[in-house]
């Protein structure tokens, strides 16, 4: 298996003293569709910005398609496309010109066929001649995606590309990304829509507070770490006091509308269902209904980041 991206002991402390990354190791296989997850402020964007060369690392190494990212920047940049999290656009030009300029800056003579295809696929074709200032937020974000793809990079990094993009469009955008991935492009994405990550990605890494918590295949994560949870439904919403939180720390209690959710763990082939159920009864009394649910990525994500914090 060849490696698209190998990050070793990457550390970043900002000039204001904030530690964003504390020795992150991460390996992204070539051709993978890789999800990088983590709560807000976990360090995802810092990591991506270091790869994109908009933030300087404090320490660490990155190998990109076998080349050293920091000493062979130019070679690496020609093969990397990044969709930044924050919307940015050139207010002087229209989308078609912006794509031509972006392509040119990468040293690639604009391939108009590809630019037209990008505009078409990202549903910007009818706005191609409008000044970028006239575009809506969602259109500007799609333009960012087009800009990242215009030089046909081998590796594409998307930092929350679907924030503010409606459901239908999001689906079509992911369809396009899937096609690119099927044609050999490595895709690394961060998103807050965990169900999207679960559906799209074959690999997943979770970082929190500047540290890597886990990195493995999506299936592996869901099989090994993903167990099940106990869902108790009550007549009215319940609150989880700090006291209960501490008492039930093993189950990572959380609420969702009228439901209380407790994570179950497998131990010697059995789950700790009984302990969890008894504890819930003691805290909140009888429930209207009780269900056992297999964990999805969201539960796993919440549990892993929660365990790490406490």
């Amino acid at each position: 298996m060849s490696i698209a991206l190998a990050v070793k002991q990457l550390t970043k402390t900002y000039s204001n003293g904030k530690k964003a990354l504390e020795g992150v190791d991460l390996t992204v296989p070539e051709g993978s569709f890789f999800a990088l997850l983590g709560p807000n402020g976990a360090g995802k964007s810092t990591l991506i910005n270091i790869l994109a060369d908009t933030v300087k690392p404090s320490a660490g190494e990155v190998s990109f398609l076998g080349h050293d990212l920091f000493t062979e920047r130019k070679w690496c940049k020609q093969r990397l496309g990044v969709v930044p999290q924050e919307i940015a656009f050139d207010p002087f030009f229209n989308p078609r010109d912006i794509l031509k300029i972006m392509s040119g800056m990468f040293g690639v003579k604009p391939d108009m066929k590809w630019i037209d295809e990008l505009l078409e696929r990202l549903e910007l074709a009818e706005h191609a001649q409008k000044n970028a200032r006239m575009l809506s937020g969602g259109m500007r974000r799609r333009l960012l995606v087009a800009q990242a793809l215009v030089h046909k990079p081998k590796v594409v990094i998307l930092d929350e590309p679907t924030a503010g993009v409606d459901v239908e469009l999001r689906k079509r955008l992911w369809g396009f990304m899937r096609e690119l991935n099927a044609n050999g492009t490595t895709i690394l994405l961060t998103t807050h829509y965990l169900e999207e990550a679960e559906e799209l990605c074959d690999h997943v890494a979770i970082i929190n507070q500047g540290k890597l918590l886990t990195s493995q295949s999506m299936k592996g994560l869901l099989d090994n770490v993903g167990s099940s949870s106990l869902v108790l439904e009550y007549a009215e919403p319940k609150t989880i006091s700090d006291d209960i939180k501490n008492k039930l720390a093993d189950f990572c209690p959380r609420t969702q509308e009228n439901k209380v959710i407790l994570s179950l763990k497998k131990c010697d082939g059995h789950t700790n269902f009984n302990d969890a159920y008894q504890a819930a009864l003691a805290c909140w009394g009888e429930a209207i209904s009780v269900n056992i649910q297999d964990e999805d990525l969201e539960d796993v994500f919440l549990r892993i980041t929660h365990e790490n914090q406490s």
């Binding site: 900002y14 000039s15 994109a52 060369d53 908009t54 933030v55 300087k56 920047r73 130019k74 070679w75 940049k77 020609q78 990397l80 990044v82 930044p84 924050e86 919307i87 940015a88 656009f89 050139d90 207010p91 002087f92 030009f93 300029i101 972006m102 040119g104 800056m105 990468f106 040293g107 690639v108 003579k109 800009q147």
Partner: protein
């Protein structure tokens, strides 16, 4: 060398000001014409003391050079400033362009804008005088160097400024005084001796005087000394821009 990338950035920076030529080319021309009308009637047929040239002829090259320098500064500083505020700078940083290529493209675009403004101004102003070109090399040398120095200062100013307020501070308290006090409107020989001496520390003074020399064949400075000072200032500016961009000064945390 990513020549195509460098060329693209240069053409982006050029198209940016051509897209708004009313404010970047026509407005400076109009301002200069108004200066000339005002001074033409205020000064009449008077000559500049010690230089023996009509004041009107004396003024034109100075005004042209001043416009060139201000426009070169505006081109780079506004581009970097807008880029920072709109978060657009990231595209430049993500592109496989070296700091040298970026510096080259920005400064070349600044020189282009300065020369377009100069040509427009001269076309508008020259019909009113009997002035002609005496030393073309001087006009080109000081024109190019002045635009590079000011374009470079614009780049550095753009990187340094966090807000438009910072930029206005730089423009109004450093750039404007240095240009106004550099002998555009007077010959330094008209000044008291201390000020004459002080002017020799103002780099803009050599640029304006040298440029004017190219048209009038008279000047306040020793030409070989001026060429040396301006060359050193130009190379220093290019080097500073290149190094500051390379280290991501004020751009990358």
């Amino acid at each position: 060398m990513n020549w195509y990338g460098c060329w693209t950035l240069y053409s982006r920076e050029t198209r940016r000001f051509l897209n708004v030529k009313m404010q970047t080319v026509v407005a400076p021309a109009l301002t200069a014409v108004m200066y000339l009308i005002v001074f033409r009637y205020a000064m009449g047929e008077r000559s500049v003391p010690n230089l023996d040239v009509p004041y009107f002829n004396f003024l034109i090259p100075g005004l042209v050079m001043m416009s060139m320098m201000q426009n070169a500064f505006a081109n780079t500083s506004s581009s970097i400033m807008v880029g920072k505020l709109m978060n657009m700078q990231i595209f430049l940083m993500m592109a496989p362009l070296t700091a040298f290529e970026v510096t080259l493209a920005f400064l070349a675009a600044a020189v282009t804008r300065a020369f377009i403004v100069a040509v427009v101004l001269l076309l508008v102003l020259v019909p009113f005088t009997d002035m002609h070109i005496e030393h073309l090399w001087m006009i080109l040398f000081y024109g190019v160097c002045g635009s590079i120095i000011m374009g470079g200062m614009g780049m550095i100013g753009g990187m340094w400024s966090k807000t438009f307020d910072d930029m206005a501070l730089l423009n109004n308290f450093i750039i404007m005084p240095l240009t106004f006090l550099s002998g555009v409107f007077y010959s330094v020989k008209q000044l008291p001796e201390t000020w004459q001496a002080a002017n020799h520390f103002n780099p803009f003074f050599y640029l304006i005087d040298g440029f004017r020399h190219g048209f009038l064949n008279v000047g306040d400075t020793d030409p070989s000394q001026a060429v040396a000072i301006v060359s050193i200032a130009t190379l220093t500016t290019i080097f500073a821009c290149w190094q500051l961009w390379r280290t991501g000064w004020k751009l990358k945390d």
